[in-house]
């Protein structure tokens, strides 16, 4: 309780420090701050409650901040740097490790940043963060803010649950790959078994009409008198080679010198 109070206090201080508009909506738990006023208060409250619940459950803070322009609050040149500054300034994170994940939206130039810290780096791998982006970016592109944040929180919850079970979402650890892989194995196995059974069954049938007369071709009687090979045209197919960065990663999380992982981009 003491921790929550102090968090709210820091938030309030940060709001004044960053000169956020007085009408900026923030959740009572301090996990969601809608400084850009993208959503009604009740939406912010609902998201904040959801974020608080999972943060307590998984002991890893899940945060959302929206601003009009990140350059108003940070000296960083990009949204990623701004997110890091805000994370540290607001003393975000759960426990002594300050574990957490933050999604920052800067509406002016449609920038976003997704960063993780502490245990967040374990739960949100590089691959996991890519998957996490996929679930909210398509909503934000349609200006569906509540939908995007809601999807973000839901995905965070499932990723935290996977991490708690010892298998954070990473390359080769998609939790759905297990059951789907089993189904694929079953289908492939049934197909292979069918092929083997068909071959075995065909050995039971030995009566077939002949369609050719190769064995009755008189020896040395074959005389090829015409051979014409004429080039007509050529077709060219170009396929772009996959780069190592898109296919060769072996998974895990890339952490920078400040202990953060993540990236920024446009939505």
């Amino acid at each position: 309780m003491k921790k929550r109070i102090s968090l709210v206090v820091v938030w309030v201080l940060m709001l004044s420090l960053l000169c956020l508009p007085a009408s900026a909506a923030q959740g009572r738990n301090g996990y969601v701050l809608d400084a850009a006023e993208l959503m009604p208060d009740e939406f912010v409250t609902a998201l904040d409650d959801q974020a608080a619940k999972m943060s307590e459950l998984y002991q890893c803070g899940v945060y959302i901040i929206t601003v009009d322009d990140f350059t108003d609050y940070s000296s960083a040149s990009d949204a990623y740097g701004a997110a890091k500054e805000l994370y540290r300034a607001c003393e975000m994170g759960y426990g002594s490790e300050k574990s957490g994940v933050l999604l920052l939206l800067s509406v002016a130039d449609r920038d976003y940043a997704l960063i993780a810290y502490g245990y967040g780096n374990t739960a949100f791998t590089d691959y996991g963060k890519e998957k996490l982006k996929e679930v909210f970016l398509d909503d934000f592109k349609k200006d569906d803010w509540y939908g995007g944040f809601s999807d973000y929180l839901n995905k965070c919850e499932s990723m935290l649950a996977s991490a708690r079970d010892g298998s954070p979402l990473d390359k080769g650890t998609n939790p759905a790959a297990g059951p789907v892989g089993l189904v694929i194995s079953l289908v492939l196995s049934a197909f292979l078994a069918f092929v083997v059974c068909t071959v075995l069954k065909s050995s039971m049938q030995s009566v077939h009409a002949q369609t050719e007369a190769d064995v009755y071709l008189r020896e040395d009687s074959l005389n090829i008198s015409r051979r014409e090979d004429r080039f007509t045209y050529a077709t060219t197919q170009r396929v772009k080679r996959e780069t190592k960065s898109s296919s060769g990663s072996s998974g895990g999380t890339t952490v920078d010198s400040d202990g953060f992982s993540g990236s920024s981009g446009k939505f």
């Binding site: 080769g172 194995s185 069918f194 075995l200 039971m204 007369a213 090979d229 080039f231 050529a234 772009k240």
Partner: protein, 385 residues
């Protein structure tokens, strides 16, 4: 009218002779004597005149006896029909020269055995004049070989019901000389193909595949020798095809001396009706030979073909076939063996229990193996990321 039938009898003991394919001689099972086909042919050439005379006398005596019996008997046979209908035209009544029993055969039967005394006999007139076969391929394998081959045919058949080989009994084994037409022909082929050849190389970030397309033409000629088609309606064409090939180096000029001990039919399918099958096979081979000459390409597709056949001589030959009938669960199963090479053919029943049991077991084993190796998961990750 009853027809006389003849047989080769042992000059020593007068028992009927049997042609033994392994020894290539006519054997007497009673006194152990053996003779070559040529010896017996020469001997019987001298006896032909006597046989004809004896036949005429026997016919006259039989007719006289029939008249006498008609006069003596007073049974009322007015309701009995003498009309066999359309089937009657295809039937022949014969007298066994050994026991005198009346035998009814169809009009294509050329050699048979008496069901009463087992005497091997040859029906005269079936192989005379224009009906005489050019060649005969003598039996090389015996009835025992056929039985052994059938047992061997059951081996390594995973889906064969265990009860089939254990419970089924051979209903009948017959060695038959089957009439065949052997076609000689030549073929001129002119075929066109669409062929492609592909090369791959790298250009910066791209893998480039260049596919060259060619219009290929091949023309040529070839000759076919002794393309066989069976000339008997009784014998299934697919079975006869499946028994091929025969080794024609053993072909002999026809002689009835090879027939004793076996059944034989004369042809009842004229060569004109078999020509189409032979032509189709020759055409297919001609096109395939042209296609095989198109080399050095990655893909070859036939786009056009023109094959003209020069039809040559047709030979009439008798080929050795063992037929074996079995019955299991009320269903007939027919097997045939090439009497020269021993090739056995015949479809076998499939045990549904074994089939689905094997399918389930294999599916289980493969699934476990794939799960352990992570194949399914790996494929899932390829698509799911």
């Amino acid at each position: 009218m009853p027809t006389q039938i003849s047989q080769y009898k042992c000059p020593c003991c007068t028992a009927p002779l049997r042609f033994d394919g392994n020894a290539d001689r006519l054997e007497c099972d009673y006194c152990g004597s053996s003779y070559t086909v040529a010896e017996m042919e020469a001997m019987y050439a001298q006896q032909d005149a006597q046989a004809e005379k004896a036949f005429a006398e026997a016919e006259a005596a039989a007719e006289q006896e029939a008249v006498q019996q008609q006069e003596e008997t007073a049974w009322d046979a007015s309701g009995l029909s003498q009309d066999w209908g359309a089937d009657g035209e295809k039937l022949r009544m014969l007298h066994c020269p050994s026991c005198g029993a009346e035998l009814i055969t169809d009009d294509t039967t050329a050699a048979t055995s008496c069901p009463y005394c087992g005497n091997n006999t040859i029906v005269p007139g079936q192989f005379q004049g224009a009906l005489k076969p050019d060649y005969v391929l003598p039996f090389k394998l015996s009835k025992e070989d056929a039985k052994a081959a059938l047992k061997n045919h059951y081996k390594k058949k995973h889906f064969l019901p265990k009860e089939f080989s254990a419970q089924n009994h051979l209903e009948e084994i017959k060695g038959i000389y089957v009439p065949f037409w052997l076609f000689e022909s030549g073929a001129d082929a002119d075929c066109t193909f669409h062929a492609t050849r592909s090369h791959c190389h790298r250009e910066g970030e791209y893998d480039v595949t260049v596919t060259e397309h060619f219009r290929v033409r091949r023309g040529g000629s070839m000759e076919f020798e002794h393309v066989p088609t069976d000339a008997s309606q009784k014998m299934p064409d697919d079975y006869m095809d499946s028994l091929e090939p025969y080794d024609y180096s053993d072909l002999k000029p026809f002689s009835v001396g090879y027939l004793p001990g076996y059944l034989a039919d004369k042809y009842d399918v004229p060569p004109e009706d078999c020509m189409t099958r032979a032509d189709q096979r020759c055409r297919a081979t001609a096109i395939e030979q042209m296609r095989r000459d198109v080399v050095g390409y990655d893909t070859v597709v036939t786009t056009g073909s023109n094959v003209s056949l020069q039809r040559g001589k047709i030979h009439y030959a008798m080929m050795p076939v063992w037929t074996l009938h079995t019955k299991w669960q009320g269903k007939d199963y027919l097997f045939m063996m090439n009497g020269q090479t021993g090739k056995m053919v015949g479809d076998l029943p499939v045990s549904q229990g074994k089939y689905w049991g094997t399918f389930a077991a294999l599916t289980g084993v493969f699934t476990v193996a794939m799960t352990v190796l992570g194949v399914g998961k790996w494929i899932a990750m390829l698509f799911m990321g």
